[in-house]
């Protein structure tokens, strides 16, 4: 399958194997998004006609150039360089035409359209690059485990470690924090853990968090005080 290689200042930004229709432009709904104010929202498109890909300018403001000639409609040939603003797209018609190319070391494979799949090695290299650029979000340190410390009330332990992804507070046998009493629900509160932190969800109880009734889902912060079924618990992290 032919492909387009996007470059900015001679540096490769991305590459796509071409599906039957490819749209190029600044808006995110394009197959190929060019992040540049010189590109129109929907700048150009390339569509398969017979055995050829035909490039068409979609009445863009700054024009579409092929090999430095402004075009409205152009049948792409191997090696053609499309220019949109400062970006160039090289049309590589030979790519993937034979088995060797398909088994090429980089193994970037895609469906007709836009999704590209990376294998593990390529993934590692790119991840390293992204982490250097500081693109990684703030994730919860997986070694930091949430803890409920008992401040007041009849508990069977001084503190409860929220190691599991889901911990229950209630009368049920499977509860981490076992509550007693006739009118105590089987599950009063569920605490779930994700890579963003801990969330308490009220099931069937009149629990309070920091003195306010617990309703809905509450993201837990260090020092939050939870009152449920006669127990007062403080949320924190263990080291």
């Amino acid at each position: 399958m032919p492909r387009l290689i996007l470059r900015l200042d001679d540096r490769e930004v991305n590459r796509w194997s071409l599906g039957p229709v490819v749209t190029i432009g600044r808006l995110p709904d394009n197959t190929i998004v060019i992040d540049s104010s010189a590109a129109s929202g929907h700048h150009a498109c390339a569509a398969l006609e017979g055995h050829d890909f035909v490039l068409e300018d979609l009445a863009s403001t700054n024009g579409t150039f092929v090999n430095d000639t402004r075009v409205n409609r152009h049948t792409l040939r191997n090696g053609d360089v499309i220019r949109i603003g400062d970006h160039t797209l090289e049309f590589d018609a030979k790519h993937g035409g034979d088995v060797d190319a398909r088994q090429a070391a980089e193994r970037i494979v895609s469906n007709p359209g836009d999704t590209v799949f990376l294998d593990a090695d390529k993934h590692q290299a790119l991840l390293a690059m992204l982490q250097e650029a500081g693109a990684d979000g703030q994730a919860l340190d997986s070694n930091k485990v949430g803890v409920l410390r008992v401040l007041k009330g009849p508990a069977d332990r001084p503190e409860y470690h929220l190691q599991a992804h889901t911990s229950f507070i209630g009368k049920a046998d499977t509860s981490l924090v076992r509550l007693k009493g006739w009118f105590t629900p089987r599950i009063a509160i569920v605490i779930t853990r994700s890579d963003q932190g801990y969330t308490a969800t009220r099931m069937r109880s009149t629990a309070k968090i920091n003195g306010e009734p617990l309703t809905g889902h509450c993201d837990l912060k260090e020092g939050d005080v939870l009152r449920v079924g006669g127990l007062t618990l403080e949320f924190g992290f263990s080291r």
Binding site: T31, N111, H165, I187, S194, M203, G216, H217
Partner: protein, 276 residues
Amino acid sequence: MSRGDLPGTPEGFYLRFQVGARTDTGRVRTLNEDVFLLRPEQGLFLVCDGMGGCPAGEVASEMAALSILEHVSRRERPGTAASAEDGDYLPQSRRLRRAVEQSNQYIFERAQAEPDRAGMGSTVVGAWISGAIVSVAHVGDSRAYLWHRNRLARLTRDHSLTEDGAHKNVLLRALGREAKVAVDVRELAVQPDDYLLLCSDGLTNAVPEATVSNAIARLRDPQRICDELVDLANRHGGPDNITVVVVAVIGSMWHSLSDWTRRLSGGHIAAADSAS
């Protein structure tokens, strides 16, 4: 199998759901390689987005959905060993993870064996609801969201180079592409009036999250939400196949009753409440 059979889930808090779903080819593609699978009686909901072109992508997404369903529905053999990282998850989450891993193996083996299916793959996002606990598993860039009181929270992190911008179409993980795949699993608790939304990237690339959140707040009916979101994605160009599954969490009978009595005793009963 009834939901009560799942080990490790305290009984006594069953929720009911109302489900809507829609899949659409979109305006650019000629094939729909997305599939959804709904098993409300089991609490299982899946969206898979196939890749690999005619006809392999369709095959991969369908294989993924059916093999996950099969694995989840099967009675677990006792003594199935859990890996160390599995220990902190509820049994149903562990089983869902294994089902997804298993589907990866099936697709991979078939892609190896049939040359015209070489390179086929699929994303998956699945939710298995048991009691009030939802296990969410995913591979690829199909997403799960939780909508709660006008807030839409993304539950999954795309396995693409970046979640937005130029590299969002570069997938790092997919089912069927390699012999082993890492499956992300998380657990969350839901309450009545929460909405779970599963979708392929054909929705999220075309419709902003704020618009999705507004559609849920305004329409409330799961099928109407799905229809509206698919129509919106198509109006924004429909660049890809679009699939949306919406699960509205409704209280159990017990919940509705206790809610009603609480409102009665509080004297807050309103005409709209008694009518519904």
